[in-house]
């Protein structure tokens, strides 16, 4: 299919700069996300699944952030920006997607909710 950029969203991960480290901003294309909005605006929405693609280092950083239960910002076409989290004890599945004509494979990360069944 064509014009995938009109259907894909974005996952953003930021860390504030610290005393001995600089902050980072990672924005990756996201093809799927399942979010359960939170009741109040101060609480991060519960993310049941997201799928992003990107380079090796960017995807590795997002995988580490998932393991730490960090917060991400998601947005997409006709979807407003929303802060989400996979919660504690989350894990991510990574794989490589080989694209014909490209030297390096693209990394793919799927972060499923560790407890997808019950909802709040």
């Amino acid at each position: 299919m064509q014009n995938a950029h009109l259907r894909m969203g974005w996952l953003e991960f930021t860390t504030p700069p610290g005393r001995n480290s600089t902050g980072i901003l990672i924005t990756l294309p996201m093809d799927r996300v399942i979010v359960e909005p939170a009741g109040d605006r101060d609480t991060a929405a519960r993310c049941h699944m997201f799928s992003v693609v990107g380079g090796d280092q960017d995807v590795a950083a997002v995988a580490a952030a998932v393991a730490e239960g960090a917060r991400f910002t998601t947005e997409g076409p006709d979807v407003p920006r929303i802060v989400v989290t996979l919660g504690e004890n989350a894990r991510a599945f990574r794989s490589s997607v080989t694209i014909p004509g490209r030297k390096h494979a693209v990394r793919h990360l799927v972060g499923p909710d560790p407890v997808p069944g019950p909802t709040r």
Binding site: M8, P29, R94, P100
Partner: protein
């Protein structure tokens, strides 16, 4: 900095002001050699969108996200008693559509883990917190007229939601 500015502007299509028929500024572009080739070095999203469904990460996560339903086929050797039916129902082996008319509904049993928390304070004012995990069953009902109900150990007498209510 400029790259980030253009990147953020490109993501907010709705906030972009429409282009006018008359340009506000005109820049002269110097002539280039005829064999100029523009190359896109970003991620090929169109190709990726087609390849991602067969990704190994999706297959691994699919065991969590889309776990196959347990299906049991066969015919019992002896008629099932009420206790047998209860065990099969609680284990989710009898999920399906039951009843007729207004009582026609979809029943789905699930097993969940609950944590019982006990706090004991002895004579020396030392509080001991004990947590015990155990499994419990939950029954979700969806009736044909739109009513829903969730029966669980915490709320065994739960009432059905109205027909136009939210589950």
């Amino acid at each position: 900095m400029v790259h980030e500015l253009f990147f953020n502007a490109g993501r907010n299509y709705a906030r972009l002001s429409p282009l006018l028929d008359q340009p506000d500024r005109i820049y002269s572009v110097p002539p280039s050699s005829p064999n100029v080739r523009l190359t896109y070095r970003g991620l090929p999203l169109d190709v990726l969108e087609d390849l991602l469904p067969s990704s190994r990460a999706y297959r691994q996560a699919g065991r969590i996200l889309f776990a196959p339903q347990v299906q049991v086929h066969g015919r019992p050797l002896t008629p099932l008693h009420a206790g047998h039916v209860g065990i099969l129902s609680c284990s989710g082996l009898l999920n399906g559509i039951f009843g007729t008319g207004e009582a026609r509904h979809v029943a789905c049993w699930e097993t969940g883990k609950v944590v019982d928390r006990f706090e004991e304070t002895d004579d020396q004012e030392v509080t001991t917190i004990r947590e015990r995990e155990r499994f419990t069953q939950r029954l979700t009902l969806v009736f044909a007229n739109g009513r829903t109900a969730v029966l669980s150990e915490e709320d065994p007498d739960a009432k059905c939601t109205p027909e136009d209510g939210v589950a």
